[in-house]
């Protein structure tokens, strides 16, 4: 049979995302964060993860999605990157899914803007699409928008 991969999934603004399970260090509930003044807006703050200081990126802002509803607390998906752990703030955590590679496709042409850069590909599942996120690019923060932000600061 064809190969399959495992993905850790989560929900964001009604969209269903996945990240390779090997890249995920842990998934934890909302943590109190210390904000960083003057930082790019998508950096929500810093969290204390068992003595490690981890940067938390608000994925909604990163993907230019509308802000979270009032009172809704995000969950943390802590991913491993080249420079250490980074936490991605998401709405809700999904299950770990094992998915056949043959349903994998390039991202649709209709996807534009930031999402196009950060989404590696799409799996067509029975009821919905699973968007696979490129973690390195996500935490890299280098898009035109962030550059403009830096200059404005």
């Amino acid at each position: 049979m064809s190969d399959s991969k495992q993905y850790s999934t989560f929900y964001l603004n009604g969209l269903f995302f996945g990240v390779e399970v090997l890249k995920v260090q842990e998934v934890i509930r909302y943590q109190e964060m210390t904000r960083v003044p003057l930082a790019p807006r998508m950096i929500e703050g810093l969290i204390n993860l068992r003595g490690q200081i981890v940067t938390a990126i608000d994925l909604r802002r990163r993907l230019e999605l509308p802000p979270r509803a009032e009172g809704q607390l995000p969950m943390n998906v802590v991913v491993r990157t080249d420079d250490g752990a980074v936490s991605l703030l998401v709405d809700e955590i999904g299950d770990v899914l094992e998915i056949q590679e043959d349903t994998y496709e390039r991202p649709p042409e209709t996807l534009n803007g930031v999402a196009r850069e950060l989404i590696q590909g799409v799996y067509k599942l029975k009821e919905r699409l699973l968007l696979i996120l490129d973690t390195e690019k996500t935490v890299g923060l280098s898009t035109a928008a962030t550059c403009a932000q830096e200059i404005a600061n």
Partner: protein, 764 residues
């Protein structure tokens, strides 16, 4: 892959080679130092033995010939000449090259050293090399090409003007060696040889080699322990359990000691870095045709290993600069009445929680005019700015990227990438660099670096509801101003807030404004907390909402996403587990614009100075007497600037006065005594701007319309006026400005002011 034994061989050999460098340079200065000679012999002998054992044939061959030569030197059969020194140093370089090859490929490599071997053999026989070109294949060309000459030219690196011509006889050397004839000398040499070796063995037993990675890990763990200890201490403040308090106190003491000891393991003497410098200086001086000696003081001063790594390159660059550009050629030095040999002094010492490193040369100093010209040429400053620059500011041009006054770019220095990289590297580790120079006499470079990076004492402050940590090394003092005092004592010069601290004007920055966060509401009666910090040697005040306490914090770096944020140097975890950001004092100061040179200069030239009448440059206070009438007086005449509400003005007879510092201050409305366009604006002001002038213990307040600025200007009076309280007019900032004759105005307003002062003292 290379195995453990080879790795050890490489590490030891590199250390040995460093020692050889030092010893050979020392031997050159004192060719009769027997102990040095013996040490050199032993080292080469060790290298030869080890390379033989490990079957590195080429390496062994080179070491063998060198050993032969050294044996003859040690036994006094041949005399030590500068040529030999160079040949031996070339041997050291050859060995280094081969070690590099072994590290990369496992074998000494293919380079042909037969020229070097031949040279050493000839020297062995007492025959002096006639073909210096034979040496160049063995030398790494890049390091030794002479200044100004094209790279790779076969000029001998030993062509110093000072060395005596080598004597061409093999017999002469024996006469030079000290009295003892060979046989007893050999026996005697064997004796100290042994005891020296046993001594060396005893020293090595008490030390142990440790992998740096392991030390780093140890340091991290201690850092975590410190954090955990801080958290435990937090709980003790809430607990009454005496057993718990006692245990946590012990934990506290042990952690502190452990932290101190682990930090010590990482400390190395700065001599380790400096030890390479004598060789560098020797080679460079030779290549440039100069004579330079290097003196070192404070080699035992200890620094954290990471800091040593960071300053290695900058220090080397600075030293090269001094030899290449600073110290003059012997002829020039003679003309200037200096000894032909230039002196480079390195000094290191601990002071105030920092390590200070000073590098002084007695060369020609910085040519200020040349620097300015180069800067103008490169478009860094305008001719106008250059004319107004002080010497100190000119020196700082050297630290700008792309700057270099070297006429020719040589391999040594002068590529224009040097000093700014030096400054950046040092600032990266939290240090500062300062340059001082005296034309014709020399230049001094001062570097200050914090003792350690990992665990530092810090002051915790609060602003906008968030806590921030300020490294104590930047902290000068704390000032608290209560309500009304705060409002009055924070003055504004051209819109910028300043506070007068014991006579010095301190520029202020508000932390919540700099970070663009909501500060606590600034009500009139709120107290103001000022943290007096220093950045780059300039003090400034940081206004925060609250000052908490001082704590030892563990510095953790910020992720790469946040590296660009200028005002933060890192983050730490507080005792209660929450994260706090550590402020980067220098970055913050630069963003807040409180340390630009111009501002610092004008604000620091304060207090009553002697009139610089012979000097045409003056510091002037610019103000308006009435609307549109721009005036100026020398800042040296200003005792202070005050604001009063019109309601506080009282009358003593016909004279307007105000109560001020427990005394009665007479007031003079300037607009009444000089021709102004219209002064109704003053009447409408809520606060009167008053310039307080003092002489001989008596003060008077001059009411002006508006204080504009303080400038440093070359004053050439354009139009003279007599009387009317004006000296004349000048053009300042492109506008016509009248120079106020303060004394004339005072005399006109209040003749009694000068009545009690004897006439000769009231002179202008």
């Amino acid at each position: 892959m290379i195995d453990e034994i080879v790795k050890e061989f490489l590490v030891e050999s590199h250390e040995n080679l460093d020692r050889l460098d030092r010893d050979l340079v020392a031997l050159e200065k004192d060719p009769h130092a027997k102990e040095t000679l013996a040490s050199i012999f032993r080292t080469i002998h060790t290298i030869k033995g080890a390379s033989g054992f490990l079957a590195f044939g080429k390496l062994e061959a080179v070491a063998h010939v060198a050993e032969n030569l050294l044996s003859k030197l040690r036994d006094g059969i041949v005399a030590f000449t500068p040529e030999m020194a160079s040949a031996l140093l070339a041997t050291v370089d050859a060995v280094r090259f081969m070690l590099g090859q072994i590290e990369a490929t496992g074998q000494p490599g293919d380079r042909d050293f037969s020229g070097l071997i031949g040279l050493l053999s000839r020297l062995n026989e007492g025959i002096h090399a006639s073909a210096p070109a034979a040496m160049t294949p063995a030398l790494p060309a890049a390091a030794l090409s002479p200044c100004g000459a094209p790279v790779g030219a076969p000029e001998p690196a030993t062509a110093t003007t000072s060395s005596p011509a080598p004597t061409p006889s093999g017999l002469f050397p024996t006469a030079q060696m000290p009295a003892p004839p060979p046989p007893p000398h050999e026996a005697a040499a064997a004796g100290p040889n042994e005891t020296a070796e046993t001594r060396a063995a005893a020293v090595t037993d008490s030390t142990i080699r440790v992998d740096v990675g392991l030390l780093d890990k140890l340091m991290n763990l201690v850092g975590e322990l410190v954090l955990a200890r801080n958290q435990v201490l937090q709980f003790t403040s809430q607990s009454a359990d005496s057993a718990f308090l006692a245990t946590s106190q012990r934990l506290n003491l042990i952690t502190t000691e452990l932290q101190g000891s682990v930090m010590k393991t990482r400390m190395q003497p700065i001599g380790n870095v400096w030890n390479k410098l004598p060789r560098v200086v020797r080679d460079l001086a030779a290549a440039c045709g100069k004579e330079v000696r290097i003196e070192m003081e404070g080699q035992e001063t200890e620094l954290d290993k990471t800091i040593i790594e960071a300053i290695k390159d900058p220090l080397t660059h600075i030293v090269r600069n001094s030899v290449d550009h600073g110290i003059e050629r012997p002829e020039t030095r003679a003309e200037r009445g200096k000894p032909a040999e230039g002196c480079l002094k390195m000094r290191a010492y601990h002071e105030g929680g920092q390590v200070n490193i000073e590098i002084t040369d007695d060369g020609g100093g910085v040519d200020y005019e040349l620097v300015k010209q180069k800067a103008i040429q490169r478009g860094m400053i305008t001719a106008e700015q250059a004319a107004r620059m002080s010497d100190h500011e000119t020196l700082h041009l050297i630290f700008l990227p792309g700057f270099s006054t070297a006429e020719k770019v040589t391999n040594v220095s002068g590529r224009g990438v040097g000093m700014d990289v030096v400054k950046t590297n040092i600032e990266k580790i939290g240090g500062t660099v300062d340059l001082q120079s005296r034309m014709g006499e020399g230049t001094t470079l001062k570097i200050k670096i914090p003792l350690t990076l990992a665990i530092i004492p810090a002051l915790i402050v609060t602003s906008g509801g968030d806590r921030f940590a300020i490294p104590q090394v930047s902290l000068l003092e704390l000032v608290r101003l209560e309500g009304e005092q705060a409002r009055r004592q924070i003055e504004f010069i051209h819109g910028a807030p300043v506070y007068r601290l014991r006579g010095q004007l301190l520029p202020l920055a508000y932390l919540n404004r700099e970070l663009k966060i909501q500060g606590k509401s600034e009500s009139d009666t709120a107290a103001v907390n000022i943290v007096v910090l220093q950045a780059d040697g300039h003090p400034f005040g940081l206004v925060v909402d609250e000052i908490n306490d001082t704590e030892e914090i563990v510095v953790k770096p910020l992720g790469k996403q946040l590296k660009g944020v200028a005002s933060f140097a890192g983050a730490t975890i507080m005792g209660d587990g929450r994260v706090a950001l550590i402020l980067d004092v220098l970055g913050l100061a630069q963003r807040a614009n409180v340390v630009t040179e111009v501002r610092d200069r004008t604000l620091s030239e304060k207090a009553v100075q002697a009139h610089k009448t012979t000097n045409t440059r003056q510091t002037l206070l610019l103000f308006e007497a009435g609307q549109g009438s721009r005036m100026a007086i020398p800042l040296s005449m200003v005792a202070r600037l005050e604001e009063f509400t019109p309601s506080s003005v009282e009358h003593a007879g016909a004279q307007e006065v105000v109560r001020y510092r427990g005394q009665i201050l007479p007031l003079i409305r300037v607009s009444k005594h000089v021709p102004v366009v219209c002064d109704t604006a003053i009447e409408k002001q809520e606060l009167m701007q008053v310039v307080v002038y003092s002489e001989q213990g008596r003060s008077v307040g001059l009411i002006v319309g508006r204080i504009n600025d303080i400038v440093d200007e070359t004053v050439t009076v354009k139009r003279h006026a007599c009387g009317n309280g004006i000296f004349g007019s000048v053009v300042i900032q492109d506008k016509v400005t009248d120079l106020l004759d303060v004394q004339a105005v005072i005399r006109a307003a209040d003749p009694s002011f000068y009545a009690n002062i004897p006439a000769n003292k009231a002179a202008a």
